[in-house]
Amino acid sequence: MTEITLNVNKKEYRLTVSEDALLLDVLRNNLGLTGTKRGCEVGECGACTVIMDGKTVNSCLVLAVQAQGSEIRTIEGVAENGKLHPVQQSFLEYDAVQCGFCTPGMVLSAVSLLEKKAHPEETEIKEAIAGNLCRCTGYQPIVKAIKAVGEK
């Protein structure tokens, strides 16, 4: 077991974790942040996407000990002060949500993209979410929703 500190959604946590614990498991099981989803555990589906030190990562591919000292943003930290993030708002408006299982990861990939580039092109949006699999929407409403945020 190892002691680590994590800053998750602007809150400091001191945790004791096993060496093989995944960041995904620590977020879900130790912190109860179940918005981060377990989909494939091999880094293919993107359902477990979180933003770690400004970059999107698959939290199933990051050991908790590797995240030591990092700042992590999960879906629970996207809306602030009871107000939805423009990406979340846009997802509602453009009907970009169906079953919702990919949505947290999708939203985080979009948030991260828009923080780097406020007005992304459609191709850039598609590239940014290419690591987030969605089986329901055909992606088109998601791309539109993200594009609309950039155009506002």
Binding site: L33, T34, G35, T36, K37, R38, G39, C40, E41, V42, E44, C45, A47, T74, I75, E76, V78, A79, L84, Q88, F91, L92, E93, Y94, D95, V97, Q98, C99, G100, F101, C102, T103, P104, V107, I125, K126, E127, I129, A130, G131, N132, L133, C134, R135, C136, T137, G138, Y139, Q140, P141, I142, V143
Partner: protein, 774 residues
């Protein structure tokens, strides 16, 4: 109408964008145990003995169960043959011989490795045509033929004799993994009254309910199923999810503690059923004018290890096997066979994607042979209102097939592009453009498969806020929103008054499965009746309030008006005021509604009858770019036209279309669940590819509305139609680009380039490693 047809935001979307939505694996309880499974080690073997002693002795292990520990019925499903725990034999590698509950997931996995099973290996069969041979190893006592559906109409011999020429092809389609992004999960726990609660991602929780109660040997009333928010299903979380939930419940019963059972992606793909692969032999008698004198079809579906939905899936194929085309002489024989592959069952489309691929490819071949455009031969042969189908059913509703075809063709400039692509044979450029068209009709809901009834409950609370519940579940398609819109329309209230309650086995009467694109037409129909029933109570109060015994009322924008002819008369009261009056008079506003349609019939011997109470029609156009050097197909644009009867929510109908097209495109060019000697080779998304944002084309959804008398506000279906004709549109576009006819799905690189699939014989990493939960 005020709310029907609007692009209302989904009632369930907010919690999904914030992460608040709770899926099955998000539920945990104190003192909870974790379960793991012991897999079959041979695709076909007799189980001689199972030694669980070492596993049970491991510290932290609370229970190890095998089939003999199941107090009630270990078998369930349509054929009564799916084992919760393998008993006599293993029949595919996803069979589970034993389950363990332990204090942690890792400990449970460790215990699994200590279970020793002695097998007597049996000869296995993996190909459905082999399985139907007389000397094939028998997988079940009754033999390997699961079902043989027949359809006989007219005289095919005579039809072929009258033909100018014969068109014949053998097509194959592949197994498909549903690929819901949420793997199956369930939490089972004992309740305070000697019963059990199961929270799970279960698509058809009424059937799960029966199987689980029977396994625990408890009455239905003592087992409560709570439907968690579902991360997709597409037909896939029926028996597979039931197996998982039943195993968790058995362990909870044994240990008296909550048990969490969670499939890893590998568990999910290894255990779950797939879309049926088909082998289809089509033979058409054709005339030079492009008409069809006879159709003969023999098809064999790989049913895998258990019956599952094979009889119903193949039945739909039989009904729709001629496509939406006139043909006086039809002979169809459809078989499903047991093999030692993963069993196959319900998946979006349910027997239509396979035949549609073949029929629509045949139709293009016919056009090619007679020198007409593919659009022209479809318009020549296509159904119209009043047409009689191959099953002898007269289509008395608005048959919009040709309208859909013309819309798809005009939106895409199909005729012009089709002709140009044929002429453009610039040999120096390896990238060739193609455009393809397809169309289909589809029987709505269950049809003559079974009892078709659904229930809903509307409860207007004393403060005027409304709870709606239904036995039709939302797996992401938007059923809750559609039903909420219907209720809000009937009551003339805003959508924000409504809250949809998660389905629960004790809350609403058995509504059958949420399958067959029946959610809106049946669940929505039930919700409409429930809302009308509750409105009738309000109307009684309103008649007293207005002292007009014969008055009719209009419920609109949160207010109630007297009806004046068909228009709006004097305002009577606000919605809340009437609700308060009702409660003051001792009339609680709580009502259920049942929608039951029984207007189908079927003759098994001849395949004649009114198969479905109504049908939907659609047409697709795909544009592709084919790299003739590599065989790579890029789908660039897609037009999808569907007559949905009435769009309850336009955004959601479009959402179904986009998602259906993407999934249909996966079927057409990318996806294949590969098994070799029963061993799955595509166990996770690193080997089973589904379309990403970079793969999908620009999609144009076109909605046609011809309200149907059977549907709520005229609404019919969209879920499955959206998918079922996409693959042949792409295959036909590939032909337009290259002159190569795709006979085997998917049209991946080697199929397009070589006309066959290449198979790597060496084991892949994921197969040579031992597979099991973490």
């Amino acid at each position: 109408m005020n709310i029907i047809g609007k692009r209302e935001p989904r009632v369930d979307a907010l919690g999904k964008v914030t992460g608040a939505a709770k899926f099955a694996d998000d539920y945990n309880m104190p003192h909870q145990l974790y379960a793991a499974v012991k897999y079959a080690e041979f695709p076909h073997a007799e189980i001689v003995s199972v030694d669980t002693a070492k596993a049970a002795a491991l510290s932290g292990v609370q229970a190890v169960l095998t089939a003999k520990d199941v107090p009630g019925s270990n078998r369930f499903g349509l054929g009564g043959d799916i084992r919760i725990l393998a008993d006599d034999r293993t029949r595919y590698l996803g069979d589970v011989v034993a389950v363990v509950a332990a204090e942690s997931r890792a400990l449970a996995a460790q215990a699994i490795d200590l279970i020793e099973v002695t097998y007597k290996e049996l000869p296995a069969v993996f190909h459905p045509e082999e399985a139907l041979k007389e000397d094939a190893p028998k997988i079940h006592e009754q033999g390997n033929e699961i079902v043989h559906h027949k359809l006989r109409r007219g005289n095919v011999e005579q039809g072929f004799a009258e033909a100018d020429f014969i068109l014949e092809h053998r097509f194959t389609t592949q197994a498909i993994e549903h690929s819901y992004i949420e793997p199956e999960a369930a939490l089972a726990y004992p309740d305070e009254q000697d019963g059990f609660v199961v929270i799970g991602s279960l698509q058809n929780f009424y059937t799960s309910h029966k199987a689980i109660a029977a396994a625990l040997d408890l009455p239905l009333s003592k087992v409560q199923i709570i439907q968690s928010t579902m991360g997709g299903s597409f037909g896939g979380k029926d028996e597979s999810a039931t197996m998982l939930a039943a195993r968790a419940a058995l362990l909870a019963q044994k240990t008296g503690r909550p048990v969490k059972m969670l499939n890893s992606r590998e568990d999910s793909i290894r255990q779950s059923y797939k879309r049926h692969p088909y082998i289809l032999y089509y033979k058409w008698g054709c005339r030079y004018d492009g008409s069809i004198t006879a159709m003969e079809l023999k098809a064999i579906a790989d049913g895998g290890a258990y019956v599952s939905m094979s009889p119903f899936v193949t039945w739909r194929s039989v009904v729709q096997a001629t496509g939406p085309y006139h043909c006086p002489n039809v002979k169809t024989d459809l078989y499903a066979a047991f093999t030692n592959n993963n069993f196959t069952g319900a998946m979006r489309g349910f027997g239509s994607p396979q035949v549609n691929f073949a029929i629509e490819s045949m139709m293009d071949e016919l056009a090619e042979q007679v020198g007409k455009s593919p659009l022209a031969v479809r318009l020549l042969n296509g159904f119209e209102t009043g047409s009689v189908t191959a099953t002898g059913q007269r289509l008395n509703h608005e048959v919009s097939l040709k309208h859909a075809l013309l819309e798809a063709a005009s939106a895409s400039y199909y005729g012009k592009k089709w002709a140009e692509n044929r002429l453009t044979k610039n040999k120096s450029n390896p990238i060739r453009k193609g455009i393809g068209i397809s169309c289909a009709y589809r029987g709505v809901s269950l049809g003559a498969e079974g009892v078709d009834a659904a229930s809903a409950v509307v409860y207007i609370q004393p403060d005027g806020s409304v709870n709606v519940s239904s036995g039709i579940i939302d797996m992401g398609q938007g059923a809750q929103t559609a039903m909420s819109q219907i209720v809000a329309e009937v009551l003339g209230i805003n959508l924000n008054r409504l809250r949809f309650l998660q389905p629960d086995s004790g809350r609403v009467a058995d509504s059958g499965p949420t399958v067959a694109s029946r959610g809106t037409i049946m669940g929505g129909g039930a919700a409409k009746i429930a809302a009308e029933n509750v409105r009738a109570v309000m109307e009684k109060t309103l008649r007293e309030m207005t002292e007009q015994e014969q008055a009719d009322f209009l419920f609109e924008n949160e207010e109630i008006f007297l009806k004046k002819g068909n228009g709006k008369g004097k305002r009577v009261a606000g919605f809340d005021e009437v609700v308060a009056r009702c409660y003051a008079k001792g009339r609680p506003l709580f009502a259920s509604g049942v929608r039951h349609i029984a207007e189908t019939n079927w003759d098994e011997e001849t395949g004649q009858g009114d198969a479905y109470f109504t049908y939907v029609y659609g047409a697709n156009v795909a544009e592709v770019e084919v790299d003739t050097e590599t065989g790579r197909v890029d789908v660039t644009k897609f037009y999808s036209v569907h007559d949905v009867g009435r769009a309850i929510n336009r955004s959601m109908v479009e959402g179904q279309i986009y998602g259906g097209v993407a999934m249909g495109m996966g079927y057409g060019i990318m996806e294949e669940f590969i098994q070799e000697e029963g061993q799955a080779k595509t166990l996770n998304f690193d080997e089973y590819y589904i379309p990403t944002a970079l793969d999908v084309p620009y999609m144009k959804a076109i909605i046609l509305e011809n309200p149907d008398a059977k549907g709520p506000f005229g609404a019919k279906s969209i879920g499955e139609p959206a998918l079922e004709m996409a693959a042949p549109a792409i295959a036909n576009a590939i032909f337009n680009a290259t002159g190569k006819r795709i006979l085997n799905l998917p049209a991946n690189l080697e199929e397009v380039l070589l006309g066959k699939k290449l198979r790597r014989k060496t084991p892949r990493a994921s197969v040579s490693c031992k597979i099991g939960p973490l």
